[in-house]
């Protein structure tokens, strides 16, 4: 078995720690670097561009996490905004409650912790709440075929929106105001790094192989002993977790949450990022997320000419034309590293496998 594994570069059966020490360390360094460069970036570029950079980060998290569900597991979910909403609201409520709590403030002051330390707590709780929601939705609907799942996820997004709209505790239809502004470059991009790392490790672990098995042929996978429902729910909950984190970051960037923010269009934007980048390509999602976030801002200029939101028309056309002419998106299931020269690729892979999805 060991020989086979070495020969075919099969991953070991662990999730986070199967990456070589070298790799884990380098990811950790990138994560820290986000915090180190954070103050420079915040002061160095103009606020408008800074906002775009932050949105790029948030969209990367959303796209990569949805890719885990849509791309690697082959389940078509179009309710990502629903999970994002759960994460956003929970994170906002947590940071606001902690910020107003005298005991917490005293604790922060006496220990010299930065005030933005409430953010990771909020993000984690928001992510967990979203994952819980993902589990709850996934359990019943993932037993079913793809098309039903699409409608159920969409419906779930709507249900969340209606619930938010009718809950006065979170502001109802008028929304939640005065959320502290905490999403700086460091928190956003360390979350990006963490998301990409976790999804990457997930896909290259044995759990990831079960996901790919579900995507390639569910019935055959089941026959080989893969618990397909469990695999799907797992991917779904993990995708939802990161969507929740992205929602939390979004809340602390925008500082105001309204239920309308998380409508179907929001989910659709993420779907098109995943499809454009290539379902089953993490780097594809990253590239597409950045591309579309910038495109959106560019189209805002066009919008001021015609006074009509032309963005969605272009997005939907892109989606249709993509499906008709290049259904694999930009990258297909390849990663950006696959385009590097072989020598560099071997170096980067550090002995682990270099290839992304199953062909």
């Amino acid at each position: 078995m060991e020989a086979v594994r070495r020969q075919t570069r099969m991953p070991k059966h662990r999730f986070l720690f199967s990456a070589s020490t070298y790799q884990t360390l380098s990811w950790g360094l990138v994560l820290l670097a986000a915090f180190v460069v954070s103050p420079w970036i915040e002061q160095g570029i103009n606020p408008y561009w800074f906002t775009i950079v932050i949105y790029c980060g948030i969209n990367i998290i959303l796209a990569v996490s949805l890719n885990l569900v849509n791309g690697f597991t082959g389940q078509f979910s179009i309710g990502h905004a629903g999970f994002m909403a759960v994460g956003a609201y929970v994170a906002a409520v947590v940071t606001m409650a902690l910020g107003a709590n005298p005991a917490w403030n005293e604790f922060v002051a006496s220990n010299g912790i930065s005030e933005s330390a409430v953010l990771p707590i909020g993000l984690c709780l928001g992510g967990i709440a979203a994952a819980g929601a993902g589990y709850m939705v996934g359990m019943p609907s993932l037993r079913l075929r793809g098309d039903y799942l699409a409608i159920v996820t969409l419906g779930f997004g709507e249900i969340i929106r209606v619930i938010m709209m009718n809950t006065e505790a979170v502001g109802g239809a008028s929304g939640l105001n005065n959320i502290p502004f905490l999403s700086n470059f460091g928190w956003v991009y360390s979350s990006v790094v963490l998301t990409v790392f976790c999804v990457w490790r997930m896909v290259h672990s044995s759990h990831g192989r079960t996901l790919l098995a579900v995507r390639e042929d569910e019935i055959a996978g089941e026959a080989m002993g893969v618990n397909t429902t469990q695999a799907k729910v797992r991917a779904f909950a993990m995708g939802a977790f990161f969507a929740g984190v992205a929602g939390g970051l979004y809340a602390h960037q925008l500082r105001i949450l309204t239920p309308q923010t998380f409508d179907f269009n929001r989910s659709f934007e993420v779907v098109i990022m995943v499809v454009l980048g290539g379902m089953g390509s993490i780097s594809g999602s990253v590239v597409a997320a950045v591309l579309l976030t910038v495109l959106r801002e560019a189209l805002r200029v066009v919008q001021t000419w015609y006074e009509i939101d032309i963005r969605m028309v272009i997005y939907s056309l892109v989606l249709i034309i993509l499906m008709l002419t290049r259904p694999n998106g930009l990258f297909g299931s390849r990663e950006i590293t696959d385009f590097f020269p072989a020598s560099l690729r071997r170096k980067l892979a550090g002995g682990a496998e270099a290839r992304g999805g199953v062909k």
């Binding site: 019943p140 079913l144 098309d147 159920v152 419906g155 779930f156 209606v162 709209m165 499906m323």
Partner: protein, 302 residues
């Protein structure tokens, strides 16, 4: 009691509209195993075509059933054409590709119609000329119970269209061919049935019903806008699943059930949760009886 009856009447007219849309969903699903997300938008196109027909032909000056039928036919023709074009340009090239691609395309078409609709018709809601159905001397009320003429017309027209559809499906050559295609695509083609034409015909038939629903909804809820199709479209889909997708009688049954459930929820309980109810029902039905009320459970084949 009057209030109860009033809710039932409202529910019947709402249900008849859902039923017309749900029939299109269920027929397309029957022949292609595709959830045609753009179906709600075809219904929107029907409503707008109806409105413009009435405006351009000045039908409001001659109110009555005749004018309504002209508007209805125009809307049905336009919707059928739209359905044909969509199937031809977007779905047919993808017939052999994975189902998920088809699904993504359907979502794309739906959004494209919504937002290009905003470009063409403007994003502000417009008022459907309900004056077309002013019947002189009409006053049907009994105590608190009021029955609008639109409600009766909607229900009756919907029922007529459903019977026509039932006739087409079970009594004509076209219907037999449709059933054959839905039973097995490849075998139908081997038996000499022109499957592509039949699929086009199914799309057109389903779309025509959605177009009719668009005009009827314009009469009952006269505010129409390019995004109006999304919610009723999704709810009609839920109705189709509730009745057992692919099953024509089931779609009608599911639609009336959903109409009743919504109307009673709004009337007696929490009106603000109206849009969440359909999806709640969907999740429950998928959980307990995924084949729907009248559907037959089909084991998945390898």
């Amino acid at each position: 009691m009057d209030q109860f009856l009033q809710h039932v009447i409202n529910a019947l007219s709402l249900g008849s509209i859902y039923a017309l849309i749900a029939l299109g969903y269920t027929m397309v699903f029957g022949v292609l195993q595709l959830i045609n997300f753009a179906h709600g938008e075809i219904y929107m196109l029907g409503a707008f075509t109806g409105m413009y027909t009435i405006r351009w032909l000045r039908l409001e000056e001659h109110p009555g059933i005749g004018s309504l039928i002209i508007a209805l036919i125009a809307a049905m023709a336009a919707s059928a054409t739209a359905g044909f074009i969509i199937e031809r340009l977007a779905y047919r090239p993808l017939r052999k590709s994975p189902r998920i691609n088809l699904l993504i395309t359907a979502v794309g078409v739906s959004l494209f119609l919504q937002y290009s609709g905003q470009l063409v018709f403007g994003s502000d809601p417009q008022f459907f000329p309900t004056g077309i159905l002013e019947i002189e001397g009409y006053n049907w009320s009994y105590g608190d119970l009021v029955i609008e003429p639109m409600q009766i017309v909607a229900l009756v027209l919907a029922l007529i269209l459903m019977f026509v559809l039932q006739y087409i499906i079970f009594r004509t050559r076209l219907g037999r061919a449709m059933r054959a295609v839905s039973f097995n695509h490849d075998f139908a083609s081997l038996m000499g049935i022109p499957t592509n034409q039949i699929i086009s015909a199914t799309f057109m038939l389903g779309s025509a019903l959605a177009g009719a629903a668009g005009v009827l909804v314009g009469l009952i809820y006269p505010k129409i806008d390019p995004l109006m199709g999304t919610m009723p479209g999704l709810k009609a889909f839920v109705a189709a699943v509730l009745g057992g997708i692919g099953n024509v009688t089931g779609a009608v049954l599911g639609a009336f059930t959903l109409g009743l459930a919504e109307e009673f929820l709004v009337g007696y309980w929490v009106p603000t949760y109206r849009d969440a109810l359909a999806f709640g029902i969907l999740i429950l039905i998928l959980l307990f009886k995924p084949s729907g009320l009248l559907g037959v459970h089909r084991a998945e084949k390898v």
